[in-house]
């Protein structure tokens, strides 16, 4: 009846997962209880869960990513403390069965369920606003994509309470991940969670590419798009190109595990090297899917806070596209040690270093954006400066790893671990924190408290280096990654130092939480009434904060690079806004529960597949499909916002803008 599922699957005898489970379930019940008791349920269902507004979906993505970031960070704390505790005779507090699940879950969660949702959320929120449009190309599909991602995250977290997670790393190399060597449900949790969310990601990729290609405001030619839109396009093109490879590769592993196929097994002519090649043909572009939007974010920030256009815009576009192409040709650098021979290794080594050219150009362009500027060191700018310093080092160690004979002694070592955290934390995560700080006032109408933000930055920056410098050193001393137990006591000091670094990072994370709480408390003091708190240059700052559901009362006509900067300077010069437009009713897409319902049944199906509950698999699939058809099939899919309502909202916006002009005029009138 219940396949492999039985009470034995619930880890009642293991305190760590049990206590975590109980706490998490209690918190969840508490939140749900509070929502229902307060009568917020309808609001949350109508305005958020079924919303197809790109801004709402973007915020939900970011929320999901933030929660998963905390979960992944908890895993990281456990790993670092276990390694510091389990030196020599001591076995630490996590046996290998647990430890191996934790590092696998850490990597999987951080890449698929923290970094990806955060990045996609940012693109979702910001890009349509910057392009001057009202929504993405396929709003309902957008909601489906989000909820499928959430379904994957749910499955990973269920594995904590029911059964186990994979013990095979964030990329399950066969034959270890085949049933012969890993018979439990852990790898199956991994497979279905990543597959379901991967479909969501692919949908988002198609959606956002279409949006950039087809939906720009009139006059917004490609070479007038803000840099962030370019990198969004690039990143989503990569998603479309490589996520199908991931899906196919994991599908083959699934066939091996469920139906006794032999794609990657030791027996019957399976070939494990094929898996390694295929997974990295996705895996390397994946890191650029994450980091390209980060580059876009920094481009916006450097230009805004220097009070200048981005230096070398065209060269930046070229470097971005260059990276897109080259990043698909370097995957072999993840396994130089397979012994492919010197010619192949040379080719991939050089190709990998060539990526650094594109990256290097970008670094210099950001530096020269500051040249001749008036650089304001607000919190987003601090993260960006921290990024410049950190990322250059991460790029350098990356190039070092791309030299085959150097990789022969650093592959899979702590040096490698330090490298990719150097680029992912110092690149992607710093960018996301900067972006949250930067666009938060746009999304919520008030700024985040700058003092706590600065504290968070400094703790994170210093904490990062104290945590990972020791790992670089340990790697050069021959320490490999994924050790549950350390046999060599000489490594102890560096491991302790690294734990100390994690402690600093914890303080940084606490500052972020406090910042949020304090900012919500003081929201009236931090209010952004102008819609343009940072003296911005792109179209999102033309809207009020938060923007109305339709973004722009009248779709703007773009007349140059830096669309909003042009409008703003003209208004300041002429001392008045443009003439009031003629308001027309606006048609917006209706909300739809199709995403959440399909994703719910997708999770049920996934869970049933993991536990081999075949009747439930069929039921889940049928319901998912039926739900999809039932809710997606409708005659009316838009509603109208009347012209008076549009006018009312836009007049408020214009009044706020006029107030700025008047304030500026008064300030200029005064002797300086």
């Amino acid at each position: 009846m219940f396949g492999k599922l039985s009470w034995a699957a619930v880890p009642l005898h293991e305190p760590i997962p049990m206590i975590t489970s109980v706490v998490v379930i209690l918190i969840l019940l508490g939140v749900i209880g509070w929502v229902v008791a307060k009568g917020h349920w309808r609001y949350i269902w109508d305005e958020w869960i079924t919303s197809v507004d790109h801004k709402r979906i973007g915020i939900m993505y970011i929320l999901l990513g933030a929660v998963m970031l905390v979960r992944g960070f908890a895993d990281a704390i456990m790993m670092r403390t276990q390694q510091a505790a389990a030196i020599g005779e001591s076995a630490g507090y996590l046996p290998p069965e647990h430890y191996n699940q934790i590092f696998s879950a850490h990597g999987t969660i951080m890449i698929f369920f923290a970094a990806m949702p955060l990045v996609i959320g940012m693109m979702n929120y910001v890009m349509p606003l910057q392009l001057g449009v009202r929504d993405v190309a396929f709003p309902t599909l957008n909601s489906v994509g989000f909820w499928l991602t959430a379904a994957g995250a749910l499955l990973v977290n269920i594995s904590l309470f029911v059964g186990e997670f994979a013990r095979t790393g964030w990329l399950p190399y066969p034959p270890l991940s085949e049933t012969t060597y890993t018979p439990g449900v852990g790898v199956d949790y991994y497979l279905w969670a990543v597959q379901i969310s991967g479909i969501g990601t692919l949908m988002t990729g198609v959606n956002l590419v279409t949006t950039v290609l087809k939906m720009r405001a009139p006059g917004m030619s490609y070479l007038r798009m803000p840099m962030f839109c370019w990198t969004t396009l690039a990143s989503n093109l990569l998603i479309i190109a490589v996520f199908p490879i991931l899906t196919a590769t994991l599908a083959m592993l699934t066939l091996d595990r469920y139906f006794g196929f032999h794609f990657f097994t030791n027996e019957a002519g399976g070939n494990q090297m094929m898996f390694v090649n295929l997974i990295w043909a996705w895996g390397h572009p994946e890191v650029y899917i994450l980091v390209l939007p980060a580059f876009g974010i920094f481009s916006e920030i450097f230009s805004t806070f220097s009070g200048k256009p981005l230096f070398g815009y065209r060269s930046m576009v070229a470097a971005t596209l260059f990276i897109v192409v080259v990043s698909c040709m370097v995957w072999l650098h993840h396994f130089f040690t397979m012994g492919a021979g010197p010619a192949v290794n040379t080719f991939f080594g050089i190709a990998s270093s060539v990526i650094a050219v594109g990256t290097g150009v970008k670094i210099y362009n950001w530096i020269f954006t500051m040249y001749g500027g008036r650089v304001r060191f607000e919190v987003p700018m601090l993260w960006s400066m921290g990024f410049l310093v950190t990322f250059v080092i991460g790029g350098m160690t990356g190039v070092l790893l791309a030299i085959p004979p150097a990789d022969f002694v650093t592959h899979n070592s702590m040096f490698l671990v330090a490298h990719f955290h150097n680029v992912i934390l110092g690149g992607v995560v710093f960018a996301l924190f900067a972006a949250i700080e930067y666009w938060f006032p746009k999304a919520f109408g008030f700024r985040l408290h700058p003092g706590w933000g600065k504290a968070a930055f400094w703790f994170a920056f210093i904490g990062f280096w104290v945590t990972f410098t020791p790992l670089y050193i340990l790697g050069l001393q021959g320490m490999t990654r994924r050790l549950q137990h350390i046999n060599y006591p000489e490594w102890a000091p560096m491991l302790y130092l690294s734990v100390f670094g994690v402690a600093i990072l914890v303080v940084g994370a606490a500052c972020q939480v406090i910042q949020l709480v304090v900012s919500i408390r003081d929201r009236d003091k931090l209010r952004d009434v102008t819609g343009d708190p940072w003296d911005g240059r792109s179209m999102e700052w033309a809207t009020p904060s938060p923007p109305p559901m339709f973004n722009f009362a009248v779709i703007p006509n773009v007349e140059g690079e830096e669309a909003y900067w042009g409008i703003k300077t003209r208004a300041i010069e002429t001392q008045r806004l443009g003439p009031e437009p003629v308001y027309k009713p606006i048609h917006m897409p209706l909300n739809s529960p199709v995403g959440v319902i399909t994703a719910f049944f997708a999770s049920v199906t996934g869970f049933a597949l993991i536990w081999h509950i075949w009747w439930l698999v069929i039921l889940g699939l049928v319901c998912a499909f039926a739900g999809f058809v039932w809710f997606a099939w409708r005659d009316i899919h838009e509603f109208e916002i009347p012209a008076e309502e549009v006018a009312r909202i836009d007049r408020a916006r214009r009044a706020a803008r006029r107030a700025i002009l008047e304030r500026l005029a008064r300030e200029q009138g005064k002797p300086a």
Binding site: G184, T337, M338, T346, Y364, M370, G372, F377, M385, V409
Partner: protein, 272 residues
């Protein structure tokens, strides 16, 4: 980073050279970034303000040229290094290399000396100053054969044989590890490498030969079961061609956890 053989020294040299080449450009870049931010900080009204300056062909050219030049330097390094330190390439030496066949087990290491007719588990004994040619395979999952102080690592994969040439210049003891996660016993899957002077090495071979059990297919099948017992021991004789049988899967791959416990080792073992 304390190499004891020519390969390790080669790896180290490349890391040092490449790092220096890159630091030569990375350090000025970081300083430039910090200086630029400081010089043009908003409160510094002495610095000129160029609100529209966003292009300079000359700077663009330099900005593309610098990384390209660095990468050209490094490409040379990559080219030469990849060929010179190719793991499959025999080392230059006037001595004939020792042949050692390596099999990664769950979670131990088996070393077969085909010419000497002996074998050992979790202890690798080699003569100092003489090249060693390793042929490496796996009994089950992927591992990496790695002696950090001797240099380059390479994958051990079931059904395939990788080649690696290493040499210890001096007598000494080194650590050997697996660099590729291979399951629950991975952390302690270490082995000891003892590099002995030629005469002591010959002494070790003759003391080992004939003493202890015989390594044949049956004994090998026993070794392939999962075990975290890392104590070293030796075999006094080896069935000829055993390594070949392992590499071509005539000797069956390791059975994984099922055979060891007779059931799945997960909490979810209650089928039905």
């Amino acid at each position: 980073m304390d190499p004891k053989g020519p390969v390790g020294q080669g790896n180290r040299q490349i890391i040092v050279d490449a790092t220096l080449i890159m630091l030569f450009i990375v350090v000025p870049t970081i300083l430039l970034a910090l200086w630029m931010g400081w010089r043009y900080r908003a409160s510094n009204t002495k610095a000129e303000y160029l609100p529209y300056w966003s292009f300079s062909g000359r700077i663009e050219a330099v900005v593309w040229a610098i990384p390209i030049l660095v990468i050209m330097f490094l490409s040379g390094e990559i080219w030469i290094g990849s060929h010179k330190l190719d793991p499959f390439r025999p080392l230059e030496s006037d001595q004939k290399p020792v042949e050692v066949q390596v099999v990664s087990l769950d979670w131990r290491w088996l070393f077969i000396y085909p010419e000497e007719g002996v074998a050992s588990v979790n202890e690798l004994v080699i003569p100092a100053g003489r090249p060693v040619h390793f042929s490496i395979t796996s009994s089950s999952v992927m591992n990496t054969f790695f002696v950090p102080q001797l240099g380059s690592m390479i994958y051990a994969m079931n059904g395939m044989v990788s080649q690696l040439h290493l040499q210890a210049d001096q007598p000494g003891e080194f650590r050997g590890i697996s660099g590729q996660f291979s399951g629950d016993g991975f952390s302690d899957m270490t082995f000891k490498v003892r590099s002995l002077p030629a005469d002591q090495y010959a002494g070790w071979v003759s003391a080992t030969r004939g003493a202890g059990p015989v390594l044949d297919q049956t004994a090998y099948a026993g070794l392939t079961h999962q075990s975290r017992d890392t104590r070293p021991f030796t075999f006094g004789a080896v069935q000829p061609d055993l390594f070949n049988a392992i590499a071509t899967r005539q000797a069956p791959p390791g059975p994984g956890p099922v055979a060891q416990y007779g059931r799945e080792t997960t909490p979810a073992s209650g089928e039905n």
